[in-house]
């Protein structure tokens, strides 16, 4: 295990994606944003981006790591009821980490292509399936606004049927909970923390404006990988 000797406990804190714990348990750390907090203004304020990334996402990661450690423990001890009890914390915090990691890639400052409509195969698939990009945006905005409480609205692709779908999930449920073949292309966080400081309760305004900073390049890449 040459890797083990390289990654001493002191080095663990610096590795980018995952860390190997003493028992080989991989834990997670906060991914960096590929842009500055303030560069998505005025669609999303820098304050919100900073809080959202440094506080909310970090909390999900911290609690996910904690839950994973407890799970590891429970599995090692063969404590079945403890394993089952931890599932909701894992789903919530793990889902929070997964969803937010996708979300940061879904956004880009305007001068880096944020808001530019999708071209090539994804653009074509959207026109084919929904009629036009405007119709898709209307649909996602309507579903996002109608979602009660906290959740996400997704544009996904069914990798089996090669079909685009618009779905919502509650709380931090990842898109796969709505269908095991669904791959998320674009997710919009409609938890209040994602927009409250700037838009208060006017979620429709947030949804209208976020399209100006949506990174269609990333969505296209994912789509082309699933539907070559």
């Amino acid at each position: 295990m040459a890797l083990r000797t390289l990654l001493t406990r002191k080095n663990l804190a610096n590795s980018p994606m995952g860390m190997l714990g003493l028992r080989g348990l991989q834990t997670f750390s906060l991914p960096d944003l590929p842009y500055d907090y303030g560069t998505l203004e005025p669609a999303i304020s820098g304050d919100i981006m900073q809080l959202h990334h440094q506080k909310h996402h970090q909390t999900y990661i911290t609690n996910y790591n904690k839950a994973l450690e407890q799970l590891d423990d429970a599995v090692a001890k063969g404590d079945a009821s403890a394993v089952v009890k931890l599932q909701s914390a894992i789903k919530f915090n793990g889902g929070g980490h997964v969803n937010h990691s996708i979300f940061w890639k879904n956004l880009a400052p305007i001068r880096e292509g944020g808001g530019e409509p999708p071209k090539s195969s994804l653009g074509w698939a959207i026109d084919n399936h929904f009629g036009s990009l405007e119709v898709l945006i209307q649909k996602m905005n309507a579903e996002g606004a109608a979602l009660q409480g906290s959740g996400w609205v997704w544009l996904g692709v069914d990798k089996e049927f090669k079909r685009l779908v618009v779905e919502t999930t509650a709380n931090q449920d990842p898109l796969v909970t709505k269908g095991s073949n669904l791959v998320p292309l674009l997710g919009i966080d409609v938890w209040e923390h994602a927009y409250y400081l700037q838009y208060k309760n006017v979620r429709p305004d947030y949804l209208k404006n976020i399209w100006k900073v949506i990174n269609w390049k990333y969505a296209s890449e994912v789509y082309e990988k699933e539907c070559p």
Partner: protein
């Protein structure tokens, strides 16, 4: 839920079947954005259509109730800005949305708010009116669960019951805070008196659900939707929850509700006098 419990069911069926307005309903209605009547309001309107049958259509309106204190009274724990937005925009929004839905829906007229909530909950498959109705009720209840100079401890009977059902007040407080912090997503935390089990309990509910749908009696509540603390506490939910317990919760209101609840739930052994 049968309609026999709905006192004015006869009016409901009468108005929907025998009355056909000529003018579109919007003309007949005088839009009032902020009625401040506390009770579910009843308005009888004369029909001024061409037929002029002199038949009235009955509309039920709900009003936005004021909190029992001024909007800045909970400072520095909850800012005036928060109250202005939470009550003035969110709560008001639910009231107006509910009224708009009820305009179009004859079935649900004639109910008290409690009945409306239970009926529209529909045993877990709620109608669209449920969310708005329940949130109106929940927020009314929440404002009244707080007071300036709140916090501290309950006394007398309520304290005794808490000690009986939770061991000690400290234990109850810990459990309540834990419940608030482990609620995933949006929702409410309640101290309820369970009718069947005849004891107090802490209950977490999601989104708009409240203990009325299980026929339990709420004693006190805490709103843990993000909008209730985000402006003042950002993501620091723990600080908000602790502040609520230490400085905001109104044990007076809870005591009053407990007294009223005991009219419906017999908590003690009946004292049968020996002849």
């Amino acid at each position: 839920m049968s309609w026999s419990s709905c006192g004015s069911s006869s009016i409901c069926s009468w108005s929907s079947s025998s009355f056909v307005p000529h003018d579109p309903p919007s003309k007949l209605l005088k839009k009032r954005s902020t009625p401040s009547i506390a009770q579910p309001g009843w308005k009888q309107r004369r029909n001024y259509s061409h037929n002029n049958r002199g038949v009235s259509k009955v509309f039920g309106y709900y009003g936005l109730k004021n909190p029992p204190y001024k909007l800045d009274a909970l400072e520095p724990y909850l800012s005036q800005k928060t109250l202005e937005v939470h009550w003035g925009v969110h709560h008001r929004g639910y009231v107006e949305a509910l009224n708009k839905q009820l305009e179009k829906n004859d079935r649900l007229y004639g109910c008290t708010m409690d009945e409306l909530i239970k009926v529209s909950y529909n045993n877990g498959n709620p109608f669209t009116e449920f969310n708005n109705a329940a949130q109106v009720w929940n927020h009314d209840f929440f404002w009244e669960s707080m007071q300036p100079g709140g916090g501290d401890m309950p006394t007398l009977g309520l304290l005794q019951q808490i000690e009986k059902d939770f061991g000690s007040f400290t234990n109850f407080k810990e459990k309540f805070i834990e419940a608030a912090l482990t609620l995933f997503g949006s929702g409410w935390v309640w101290l309820v008196l369970k009718r069947d089990a005849k004891c107090l309990a802490i209950v977490k509910t999601s989104n708009a659900i409240n203990p009325l749908v299980w026929n339990d009696i709420p004693i006190m509540s805490l709103d843990v939707w993000e909008h209730s603390y985000y402006l003042d506490y950002r993501n620091d939910k723990a600080k908000y929850v602790n502040t609520f317990m230490n400085h905001l919760v109104s044990w007076n209101a809870a005591a009053v509700r407990m007294v009223r609840a005991q009219a419906f739930v017999n908590l003690g052994e009946p004292k049968i006098p020996v002849a």
